[in-house]
Each structure stands twice: as C-alpha cells, then as structure tokens.
C-alpha cells in the first residue's frame, strides 16, 4: 500500500479537502540508577489522515495498509458537518532519512558527582534518563502541499533524593538540551528542589519582591499559553496592557521546524507586543473561523492524535534585559522561587493564580535563609503588570510544548 493509493482513497472521500501526515522516528535511551541500567531503542512509523466531507474525520495507523483499512470505517461514522479550512500549498525538498540515532551519552556518574558536590552530600542522584531522538515528518494535502522536515533532540529527566536527619524529599526534573549537555544547571536545579524543602522554614518575608528561577518563569508562561490560542479573551486580559511596555511574549518555532503539523510555514508571532495582546496563534481551523491567516500553530504531539492549536516555542523578550546576577542584586527584600513544589494553578477565566514553591529569602541582594515552602497567590493580571525586569532567555523546557525560561523579577507580591 503506497501513500499514493491512500491519497487516491482520500480524494475519493473528500475531493480537494484532505491531508496526509507521515512520521518516521527513532530514538535511543539510556536510563541509569546506581545499580541498574536500561538501554532502549525505539523505531516508530506512523500515518495519519484528516479529511472534511464536510464533517471532520481523522484516522491514524502504524502502517499505510492499516490506515487504508481505517479510512472507510471513519468515513461511515457519525460526525456533524463543519467548515472546511483553507489548506496550505507549497513544496520543500525532502531531507534524507535520519537513520538510527547514536547512543546518548552516559552521564550518570558525572551528574551524580555534581549533585553531591552542589548539595554538600545532602542530595543523591537516583535516576537519570537521556534520550536521543530523530524524526522525519511529511505533510501532503489535496491542493498539492508536499513538505518534509527532520528534527533531532536530546531530552530526558533526572531524579534525586535529598535527605537531612530523618527528613527526605524527592524530585524529578525534565530537561531538553539544544547543544551540549548542561549538567551544572541541571545539578543545581535538582539540589534546590530536593534540599531547600528540608529546611522546614517558612518565609520571613510576607510581602516583597519575587524573583523567579527560569523553570518557574517557564511554568508561569506555560500557564498563560492558552490565552494566546483562545477565540475570546477573558475581560481582564482584553482590557488593556498585560505587561509593562518594554516586555513582549513571542512564539517562534522556526529554529525547531520549518513547518507545523499541518504544513503551514513556521513564523515568529508577537503574541504580546510591548505589553499588550498581539496576534493570536492560529491553526488552519481557527484561522478559518476567525477569517485570519494561519500562523503555523497546528501542533501534532503524536501521529495518533489530530493537530491541536497550541503555542510551539513561547518565550519572553525584553528591550532592557538584565543579567540574573544584577536582578538578584536589585532585590531589596523578597523571595527567590527556585522551584515549584506543586503544579502552578492558573485560572485564566477568573484571573487567579496560585504558586507553591521552595526557595531562598533575599535581603539587600543577598541570599539569606532557605524557604521550605511558600505560597504566592492572587490576580494574574496584577502579577503580570508588576513584572519589573527579566533576564535574557536562557533555556527551553518541554511543557509539553517548548516554553522558554528567563529569570523574572516581580514587585509587590504577598507570600504565605
């Protein structure tokens, strides 16, 4: 069964209104603990078709023959008619098949040593998993689109346990490295997350400045992401300035892939332009509903699911970046949030947030004492308006789509 045969099947079901997606992926993963190791090699191929007859239909299979068998089944299932989006056109060269990836580096001993040194022996690396993956994706559609692209990534997670006296704390930190493995930063994050909560001290600062570590900023930005893909904004967000005028929020996945999961070219979009809400992110369907151009934000998290409208690589941008060291020095009295200890709660509809974090009290630009757990909660709109400064983007986190972290300083926050 060739893709051409599937294309003919789809054309018969929905003339001029179909899309065929194909993915080949391979990965190698090494998971290590102190006394166990697991090496995993995965190869996956997947096919997915969407068509509008004019009801939206989706079918996916791990083989072309499997997909061909599903198409008539899906075509006969109940589904309500809907608008057919305007499908993109264009062609690109097909990159060579990525081939099997190399084995990822075994970094367990080195990271274990760094974690131990950074925590003065209080934290122990319990597990490290590093995965190197490569993929080749292709999208074709009825109007003649045929684009392909390849991608590679080095991702994984590290887990550690901190112990002090009879108390213990466990944490697991995901990472994604774009270049060389950034082990010192990972070790520091693991140590903070596993040892700071052991201090059992509450914050002495009830109200003051809040300095957010890159991972905490990324979580806040990830919590805001649905704002940029919503058809209608909550009143507080639509009212006026969201952030101070020197700060913007950008989604730019051009460095990741030249196209999104629907074949629309990736491009840079200012979702918050100098403080105010800018251009929304659109996939094909939402662009059709809004009468706008798609922005390349139809995201496929797997070939098994249809593309969803989502941010792809979101990050803060500022006209006046300040280094993390200078941000710390500028804190008169506040708390540095080193890591979240519970998922950030963001209620965009009702303009509320709640963050539980572990960190360090900062007075006159100097770290004073650890804070085992603190809570900041209130209005999201106030939190955003009170952003005083931020550092240049430092790192991207898979949440699950990529979100950039930067050190962020917020004025006048209450802590519990």
């Amino acid at each position: 069964m060739t893709e051409q045969r599937i294309a003919s099947l789809l054309e018969a079901q929905a003339p001029g209104a179909w899309e065929l997606y194909q993915k080949e992926g391979a990965s190698r993963e090494i998971t290590r603990t102190a006394n166990q190791s697991c090496e995993t090699s995965r190869k996956e191929e997947g096919f997915a078709a969407r068509w509008w007859d004019p009801a939206l239909r989706f079918a996916a299979a791990s083989s072309a023959a499997g997909l061909a068998r599903l198409i008539p089944l899906a075509a006969g299932a109940p589904a309500a008619p809907g608008p057919v989006p305007r499908l993109p056109t264009g062609r690109s060269d097909r990159p060579p098949s990525p081939g099997p990836p190399e084995a990822p580096p075994d970094l367990f001993e080195e990271l274990a040593r760094l974690v131990s040194a950074e925590s003065r022996g209080e934290a122990v690396l319990s597990e490290l998993s590093v995965r190197r993956g490569r993929s080749l994706e292709r999208v074709r559609n009825a109007p003649g689109l045929d684009v392909s692209w390849s991608a590679k990534a080095l991702t994984g997670f590290a887990a550690a346990v901190g112990r002090r006296g009879g108390r213990a704390c466990e944490a697991r930190v995901p990472f994604r490295w774009e270049g060389e493995p950034a082990l010192p930063a990972l070790a520091r994050r693991l140590c903070d997350r596993t040892t700071l909560p052991l201090s059992e001290r509450a914050t002495a600062v009830e109200r003051g400045e809040w300095l957010l570590d890159v991972s905490v900023t990324a979580a806040v930005l990830s919590g805001l992401a649905p704002l940029f893909t919503a058809d209608a904004h909550p009143r507080w967000a639509a009212r006026g300035a969201l952030l101070p005028p020197e700060i913007s929020i950008v989604d730019d996945a051009t460095s990741e892939a030249p196209f999104d999961g629907e074949g629309t070219p990736s491009r840079r979009v200012l979702v918050v332009d100098r403080g105010t809400l800018g251009e929304p992110l659109h996939d094909l369907s939402s662009a059709r509903r809004a009468g706008a151009r798609p922005t390349g934000h139809g995201v496929r998290r797997s070939y098994r699911t249809p593309p969803v409208r989502a941010a792809r690589r979101l990050f803060f941008e500022t006209q006046r970046p300040v280094s993390p060291r200078d941000l710390l020095a500028s804190v008169k009295r506040g708390v540095f949030a080193s890591a979240l200890i519970a998922p950030l709660a963001c209620d965009l509809e009702n303009d509320r947030y709640e963050a539980q974090f572990t960190g360090v009290t900062v007075v006159a630009g100097r770290a004073q004492s650890p804070v085992a757990a603190a809570r900041a909660r209130g209005r999201l709109s106030e939190l955003l308006r009170r952003v005083a400064a931020l550092s240049p983007g430092e790192e991207f986190f898979p949440m699950p789509d990529l979100v950039g972290g930067a050190t962020l300083l917020v004025d006048r926050v209450s802590f519990e």
Partner: protein
C-alpha cells in the same frame, strides 16, 4: 496473531540460555475510536489502529529493550538482531521478509451502537456538554522465553469532559469522567453516574482552610489508598512504609488489596506485561502492612514465581515497572447515615479530580472539585474546589474503625501516571472516615 509462537521461541530462547536471564517478546495491537460530542451531536470521530512489538533481555541489573511499530516476522528478526548486536553476540542472519499476508479485516467498532445510547443518555441527563468518548481494544501477546505464549484483550471505555448542570442559583459547568471495561451493564452504569453528577446542587462557597475530618464516600477512598498504599508498595519504591512489614499501621478492620484479576474494573488484566498471571495482593491485612507489588524485573530472583504479576508497561517500548492495578477496600457494616453521624463535623467528599504522593517525604495530596460540609452529622452547604493533604503513616493511623457497608467501584479514576508512564487503574471501596487531614481551598 500474525506471529508463529514457535518462530518467536526460536528467536528469543537463545538469549535466555543462562540462568537468571529474562528474554521475552511483547506484541500489542491497539484499536481506538474516539467521538467528540458537543450538545448532543457527534462533531468529530477519530479512528486509530496501531501495532508494535518489543524484544527484551534482562540479566541482574542490566536491561535492554528494542521496539518497532511493525508486527511480522521481519520485524521480530530486526528487533532480536538489534538486541543481539547490543549484547555483543552474533546476530541471527537476515532473511528476506516473507510475503505479506492479506490485510486483516478491521473489526467494525461499536460506534453506531454506542452513539445511539449516548445520544439518548445525554439528551435526558446533560443536554449541554462537551464530552470525549473513547473505546479502545488492546490485545497483547506475550512470548516469554521458556514458557508458553499468553494472550489477552481488554475493551476499555472512557467518557471525559464537562457538562452544564442546573444549580439552585443558575447553571454551572461540572467536570465528569467515567472509566469502565465495556460490558452489557456499562451503559446503565454510565447513565446512573451521569444522573448522580447532574443532580441539582447549591452554589458552592469557597472551601475551608485548616484541619478537617472527612468521609470519603461513593468509592472515592480508592484515590486515597491508591496514593498512600499502592504507590509506596510498588517494589523498589522507598517510602515511609519501607521496612515496616507486618507492622500494625491502621485499625484492624481495614483490609486493602490490589486485585488485577477484577476484570470488571478498569485496571484489571489477565496477564501482566512480563507474562505472569496476576495474583491478588493484600497490601494491608487487618491493619497490618502485608505484601508488595512485584514484577519479574523488580525481584532479586528473576523467576516467574517471584513476581505477583504487576510488571506493567504503558507502551510496548517501555520497560516494565511494578505498578498497581485495582485497589479494593473490604466493606464494614456502617450505614451512610451512621457514617455522617460519626463524622459529626467535617467534609463529605464523593469525587476527586486527581492526587499525588511524594514517597520520599511521605506526603500526599488529593484534589477535590467539590465537597459537602457536614454539621452535627447532617449534610449542609456545598464547598468549591479544595485540596486534602497529609502524611502517609498518620493518615493510615487516622482511618476510623467502622467502614461503610457497601463497596462502590470508583469509575472516576481510570489512569495513573508515574514518571510519565500511564497505565489503567481503578478500585472499589466502601465509605471511609478519616480524621485530621489538612484542607484548603484552591484556584
């Protein structure tokens, strides 16, 4: 089955010649249909059909696994070859792939039948809604080296989303989730669960803060015991329960077991993903800590007998981990009214939206979307979303003697994620009264 068991055995058995070695092949075929429902209309239908094969080798602390999304003889040879190459052994020779067999006929899923049933249920009970209905059929064949091959199939149904329900001061959106193996009674059970969820209620007030006693009713205590017993007792986990074998931790009428053989519950299965038939495992026996959940890979001895059948893989390409399945709490003799009277002041909770446990710290959290205040033994006002929190050992100590008389399956729990590996779980429990938990409202 498209793989000949004798061919698989010939391929995999040379890898397990040394004693203390595990070698196996797992094959999965998954068919899934999802219908998105909005206000009585099926607006989108998705069909997914996947196949995957994984070959695994394990000896002492070293494990290797190769997975492919192709289930045929050449896929098997490719996986075994890669495993052999990784182990530094001479790989089996490549052979041209045999002629492909004629395509299998996809079994027509029961979409039409279910669409009629769902349309009727929704129109009567929750006409305004956004639900995602999924029916998946997962067939797994396990070929362990040195043992006969085993096969099992599960058909699992889920309905998740939200609907608009009437409350005394207007409409409100309520979340709803229901997970059950597909059977003749599933539709009736779904109807009953949705009817209960759609009952008119008071407008909730913000949740309480501080310390509270609570009755976990309608089977929802499954969530508590899943977090504070099932996870800590997965082999290899280090938690406050480690080293407390046979210690008395709770009242003597508290009996909790993990039972994967309960196929009427979402987490049940006939064989685990290492080819071992599961056995019910007592986690708490008359208040004393009893067994642990083990897999072949997690035990010192790698024999099949050392495992109690809890080696589970989320995906075929994942290494098996010891995981829980269905948490079953034995019933007592207390009626619902008596339970409320015993509670006196506190919270009456019938559903949880999620939970987590920090094994190293020994603490847990359970998120509830709403709760009823109980005053002087009577149900009073409604509270909005909140969180119960506590520590494992004190929570077990604070479970009151006298459990509810009826055991209810808790269909709201369907999936459990541990380190990103998601497996089906569920359980059944009577009403449970627990004292001195921390509670607070949440966003």
């Amino acid at each position: 089955m498209s793989l000949d068991p004798s061919t698989v055995a010939r391929s995999i058995e040379p890898l397990a010649r040394q004693s203390g070695t595990i070698a196996d092949v797992l094959v999965e075929r998954r068919r899934e249909v999802t219908v998105v429902w909005r206000d009585g209309e099926a607006v989108e239908t998705r069909f997914v059909s996947t196949e995957a094969l994984a070959a695994r080798w394990q000896r002492a602390g070293e494990q290797r696994l190769v997975s492919l999304s192709r289930v045929d003889e050449s896929g098997l040879r490719e996986a075994v070859r890669e495993l052999q190459t990784g182990l530094g052994r001479a790989p089996i020779p490549l052979r041209p792939a045999p002629a492909t067999t004629s395509p299998q006929q996809e079994s027509a899923p029961a979409v039409e039948r279910w669409s009629k049933r769902l349309a009727s249920i929704f129109s009567r009970l929750a006409p305004r809604h956004c639900f995602r209905w999924t029916l998946q059929e997962v067939a797994r064949d396990m070929f362990p080296a040195g043992a006969p091959w085993l096969s099992h199939t599960r058909r699992l149904l889920s309905l998740e989303g939200s609907f608009t329900a009437a409350s005394r001061r207007g409409d409100e959106a309520r979340p709803f989730s229901f997970h059950s193996p597909e059977s003749e009674t599933t539709a009736d059970e779904l109807r009953a669960c949705l009817a209960r969820a759609a009952e008119p209620r008071e407008v909730p007030t913000p949740g309480p803060e501080g310390e509270t006693d609570a009755v976990l009713a309608a089977g929802s205590a499954v969530m508590l015991f899943h977090e504070i017993l099932s996870h800590p007792l997965e082999a290899g986990s280090v938690s406050p329960l480690s080293g407390l074998q046979e210690a008395r931790l709770a009242v003597s009428d508290l009996e909790v077991r993990d039972d994967a053989t309960r196929l009427d519950l979402f987490g049940g299965y006939e064989i685990d993903d290492e080819g071992v038939r599961p056995r019910p495992v007592k986690l708490l026996d008359a208040g004393r800590l009893a067994g642990r959940l083990t897999s072949r890979a997690s035990t010192e001895r790698l024999e099949r007998e050392a495992s109690n059948g809890h080696g589970r893989r989320a995906e075929v390409g994942d290494p098996p981990l010891p995981r829980g399945s269905n948490v079953i709490v034995s019933a007592g003799g207390v009626t619902r009214e008596e339970m409320a009277r015993r509670l006196g002041q506190g919270l009456w909770i019938e559903e949880f939206a999620g939970g987590s446990v920090d094994l190293a710290r020994g603490s847990f959290r359970l998120l509830f979307p709403r709760a009823r205040r109980v005053r002087r033994g009577r149900l009073a006002e409604e509270h909005g979303p909140g969180m119960l929190a506590g520590e494992i050992l004190p929570a077990l100590r604070n479970v009151e003697s006298g459990l509810g008389r009826e055991t209810h399956p808790y269909r709201g729990l369907g999936w459990c994620s541990r380190w990103g590996q998601i497996v089906a779980v569920q359980g059944a429990s009577p009403d449970v009264l627990i004292r001195q938990l921390a509670v607070r409202a949440r966003v």
